[in-house]
């Protein structure tokens, strides 16, 4: 069996013989102020073992207390995923020994999740809508983080010792589990990516998570199994753990389909196991064997009383739900009048919210798109930063547009101005004033510059007088140069024609 694991079929070969069945377990780290069962701060990136209380360390005698905000978030997410909300639910203990779990059990929901039986309509790139059934969304706590020190690989196998940081231990999580997803066929990788993206957008819109996959705020375990075409019995599945970008989820699904297809076609059997994802090679390797018989000795958590949700509470939370991200996208696309391609580029560039805010603040839809997809995106690219982190806000873009409309600046200067805004020099209007960037609209100064240009370019003047009006451009250049680019090109053209006595 091991002999064939390194071989893969092409994706087309695999899909010709097998039907993939997918399943996803997405962990969402909540952005509550405190942890799931303690009053310790829920914060990322602090000095190890500073955001801990005796509860997070599992010291003798401690007891958990449920974070009410986390329960509220779980209900909101459940509602956004069209789930039923349990009237009563509880926590269970999942017992296993590992140094990153301070109590040697994880407090989690087991057979009574707070939200169950929902669905999510996932839109693929061409607009096809694929309904993914949600089995459950349940609350649990995160584990701590181990760092293996003293070895070359940073892995536990050759480490001299391991360090444990319990800052993350007890951070509230919601795990969203799908039912088996059949019928995606060759679109399975695309669906995988779209599903995780949709979940990320929803938790972001609900403002219950920072939703930054690179920080592990959203982590996906992807289950893949293959059925022979025309059959209905699920194959043995693998679970690729902790895939940390939407793109990688698609790649991991692709790879597993190809790998499993090669094994099955060679007459082998799939080992039920967890698999590790390797971003550099876009492959997976075997982790630990996992069977349904893994014995966590679940039993109801005796230190916590059941959570009771009332219909009134649920309805109150339902009323607070924002517009679903997919619907919002459809609405905005129609309102803005962008083409399919334009809108897709906007979404992929991650500037939809910025454009919406800019339009909201008074800019036109084409202008907003022009700036965010153009100069601002370029500045971000050069600075190697996220567009949102550049320091340019929707109000700045609106101000730049206004300055152009009143002919105080032109497009070229506007680009410079945005650069100065990003550099932290203040508002566009203030920058134009401080740096004296306003276009020269004083006819006296412009006329002098035009006359100078006419005197210097007799050949061009003859052409214009001869009716070749497009030759005016050859005079505008020198005028611009003379005014250091601050001339209003339209006005320069008018003055040239005036001076030469030519009319259009």
């Amino acid at each position: 069996m091991a002999a064939v694991t390194d071989e893969v079929l092409t994706f087309e070969e695999a899909l010709a013989e097998f039907e993939p069945v997918l399943g996803f377990e997405v962990h969402v780290e909540l952005n509550t102020r405190t942890k799931m069962f303690s009053s310790a701060p829920n914060a990322f990136g602090d000095v190890p073992n500073t955001n801990v209380t005796e509860v997070d360390l599992g010291l003798p005698g401690v007891l958990p207390v449920v974070n009410g905000k986390a329960v509220e978030y779980a209900i909101k997410l459940g509602l956004a995923l069209n789930c039923q909300i349990a009237p009563v639910c509880g926590f269970a203990r999942k017992n296993y020994f590992y140094p990153d779990t301070p109590k040697n059990f994880q407090t989690s929901q087991y057979d009574d999740p707070i939200a169950h039986d929902g669905w999510l309509d996932v839109e693929l790139e061409d607009g096809t809508v694929f309904r993914v059934e949600i089995e459950r969304a349940h609350m649990e706590e995160d584990a701590g983080k181990l760092t293996h020190v003293g070895g070359a690989s940073g892995r536990i196998q050759d480490a001299a010792h391991s360090l444990v940081d319990y800052n993350r231990a007890g951070v509230p999580l919601i795990e969203i589990v799908t039912k088996p997803i059949k019928g995606a066929g060759e679109r399975a990788p695309e669906l995988a990516r779209a599903y995780v993206t949709a979940i990320r957008d929803i938790v972001k819109a609900l403002d219950i998570s920072d939703a930054r996959m690179e920080r592990g705020n959203v982590r996906c375990d992807a289950n893949v199994s293959l059925m022979e075409k025309g059959h209905h019995v699920f194959g043995i599945r693998t679970e690729t753990k902790n895939v940390n970008s939407t793109r990688a989820v698609a790649h991991a699904v692709t790879y597993e389909i190809q790998r499993q297809a090669a094994i099955l076609r060679a007459g082998g059997t799939i080992t039920q196991e967890t698999r590790h994802w390797h971003e550099d090679t876009r492959t997976t390797t075997a982790g630990r064997p996992k069977s349904d018989a893994d014995d966590y000795r679940y039993f109801p958590e005796p230190d916590l009383v059941p959570i009771v949700t009332t219909p009134e509470w649920i309805e109150e939370l339902r009323a607070q739900l924002p517009e679903p991200p997919a619907e919002r996208r459809r609405r905005l696309k129609a309102e803005w009048g962008y083409s399919d391609e334009e809108f897709r580029d906007v979404v992929n560039a991650g500037v939809m919210d910025e454009i919406a805010a800019t339009i909201e603040a008074g800019a036109s839809a084409p202008a907003a798109r022009k700036w965010w997809m153009g100069e601002i995106a370029r500045l971000a690219n050069v600075a190697e930063r996220e567009v949102a982190e550049l320091g340019i806000g929707p109000a700045d873009v609106v101000e730049v547009e206004a300055l152009i409309a009143e002919k105080t600046i032109n497009d070229k200067i506007a680009k410079q101005v945005l650069g100065f805004v990003a550099a932290g020099e203040g508002s566009p209007r203030g920058i134009v004033e401080a740096r004296s960037l306003a276009v020269v609209s004083d006819d006296g100064a412009l006329t002098a510059a035009v006359q100078e240009a006419i005197a210097q370019n007799p050949g061009v003047v003859d052409k214009i007088r001869g009716g070749k009006l497009q030759a005016v451009g050859a005079l505008i250049g020198p005028v611009m140069k003379a005014t250091r680019g601050q001339a209003d090109a339209g006005r320069v053209r008018e003055i040239v024609l005036e001076q030469l006595g030519v009319s259009e």
């Binding site: 360390l57 005698g61 059990f105 230190d303 009383v305």
Partner: protein
């Protein structure tokens, strides 16, 4: 005692020093003939708190007025309740020398009310046992007969109170660990309604059964201490939102006229020592005489309670004790030549846990494992429900239930050590209350063959007051009959002598200045 303090007849420092002196005189260090009720004596801090109370009382004014009625009365704390500034070991090698960085909520309440804490009392390791023979640091002796057990798991707290080393103590009761030691040492021990007293900071054995409660010499003292300890704690989710009140008032009422008292048919038959049954019948007669209406009620599922308890308790314990692995605190044992994480955890647990603890962890792990869960843990939970229904049906007929606390008087050391089942049977009368979460109290019922016998009262959940009322009424009438409290009949204790040669397994620590 508290009244004499308030009246200024005695100072808290005098009272505290007297108890510390008594500890020094009769407790020993576990190596010789002493009672060995304490694992740690907290001399300096206890005297400092006592001096504070005396100063406040001497100064008078609003602050003196605001002092808690029990302020200045010393108290001993069972060693599975965490305390800042003193070791907490739960009588296990696993935690030998461990100092908690935080206080249990009940300890915080003791400190706020300014009760000097005398020290930490001996117990069965992690509260597992009925004789205090499972302490990793040596047995506690019964003050009534030093060759006999003081009950368990809270044998240290009961013996400290019985031997006049502490007027008050805290215990924890998972299956009878406050009441059974109370019965066999002639003291009063109460298990409050589940949730009535915070469990935060109490090293858990079985979370759904554990309850902290008072150990005292009189029912009124116990009531006063429970009132101090109780009330809602936001750090304990299972803590009741409303306090259980009126306990001391009920204990002072001294009447049972019109009270309906039920004798549990299933808790007075086979396996009960004849002397125990005789004292129990006398107690029932006294209650009748005092005007109580006594009827016999049947709780048919109590016979299964012991079995259910010995599945639920180890199941929860196996999970609660998983945290003791040598990774974060306590002792760590590294195998020769190092080892993997699993090997270090294994070696630590092999060396750190005693036999009884291992027995229960293995039992619980088995009962929870997939494939056996339904047959064991699941069935036990069903029986638990049936026991609760038995109580509901019984309390529909009567106000309180009464039974012997323990089927026997204190047995000799080693007598049941090789027969865990026989040891477990000693809790047959106390366990149903833990399964149902109802309150229970044991009061001295007299002597059988020279050893104390306990009478147990049980009441509906949250009706702790009626339990105190019935217990206090019996206590006052028996004391009249005996012409004084039962403890007046206790034998005089010899001065503790260290073992010869000295230096064998000294386990008691002290933060004292050593002025004795």
């Amino acid at each position: 005692m508290a009244e004499r303090l308030r009246a200024g007849e005695i100072t808290s420092v005098e009272l505290t020093r007297a108890h510390l002196d008594r500890i020094a005189a009769v407790d020993g260090d576990g190596s010789g003939t002493g009672i060995h009720a304490f694992l740690h004596v907290n001399t300096d801090e206890a005297l400092a708190v006592a001096a504070e109370v005396d100063a406040i009382r001497a100064a008078g004014g609003a602050e003196a007025e605001a002092l808690h009625p029990l302020a200045g009365v010393p108290v001993a704390v069972k060693d599975n309740i965490v305390t800042v500034g003193q070791p907490t070991t739960a009588a296990s090698r696993m935690l030998e020398g461990w100092m908690s960085p935080y206080d249990a909520t009940v300890v915080t309440r003791l400190r706020e009310a300014r009760l000097p804490i005398l020290g930490k009392t001996n117990m069965d390791e992690f509260a597992m046992g009925g004789s205090t023979e499972h302490s990793a640091f040596g047995n506690t002796r019964n003050p009534w007969d030093p060759e006999r057990i003081p009950g368990g798991s809270g044998g240290g707290s009961a013996a400290a109170v019985a031997a006049f080393m502490a007027p008050l103590a805290l215990g924890s009761d998972t299956g009878g660990s406050i009441r059974q030691p109370g019965a066999v040492t002639g003291t009063v021990g109460a298990k409050p309604t589940y949730g009535g007293v915070s469990r935060y900071g109490v090293i858990a054995m079985a979370s759904s059964l554990d309850q902290v409660g008072p150990v005292a010499r009189t029912v009124q003292d116990a009531a006063a201490l429970q009132e101090l300890l109780g009330g809602h704690d936001p750090k304990d989710s299972t803590s009741l939102p409303e306090p259980i009140e009126g306990l001391l008032e009920a204990a002072r009422r001294d009447d049972v006229a019109g009270l309906r008292i039920g004798i549990v048919t299933e808790l007075k038959g086979e396996g009960y020592q004849e002397g125990v049954l005789a004292r129990f019948r006398e107690a029932v007669a006294v209650l009748k005489e005092a005007g109580a209406e006594v009827v016999e009620v049947s709780c048919p599922h109590f016979r299964y309670a012991l079995g259910a308890y010995y599945l639920i308790m180890p199941s929860e314990a196996s999970s609660n004790l998983a945290k003791f692995d040598g990774v974060r605190y306590g002792n760590r044992v590294v195998p020769d030549g190092g080892g993997t994480i699993e090997q270090v955890m294994g070696a630590t647990r092999a060396a750190g846990f005693g036999e009884e603890v291992k027995r229960r962890i293995i039992l619980g792990t088995y009962a929870l494992s997939a494939g056996y869960y339904d047959a064991y843990y699941g069935s036990a939970q069903k029986i638990r429900t049936l026991v609760q229904r038995d109580f509901e049906a019984a309390f529909a007929q009567v106000d309180v239930l009464v039974s012997p606390t323990s089927p026997t008087t204190a047995f000799g050391f080693g007598e049941k050590l090789d027969d865990p089942l026989a040891m477990y049977l000693n809790d047959v009368a106390t366990i149903p209350a833990n399964l149902a979460g109802v309150p229970g109290i044991s009061v001295p019922g007299g002597l059988a063959d020279g050893l104390p016998v306990g009478v147990q009262f049980l009441a509906p959940a949250r009706a702790d007051a009626v339990m105190y009322r019935a217990a206090a009424a019996l206590e006052s009438r028996l004391e009249q009959a005996w012409d004084g409290p039962l403890w007046a009949q206790a034998p005089e204790l010899d001065e503790a002598r260290p073992a010869q040669p000295a230096g064998v397994g000294t386990s008691r620590t002290t933060t004292a200045g050593g002025e004795d």
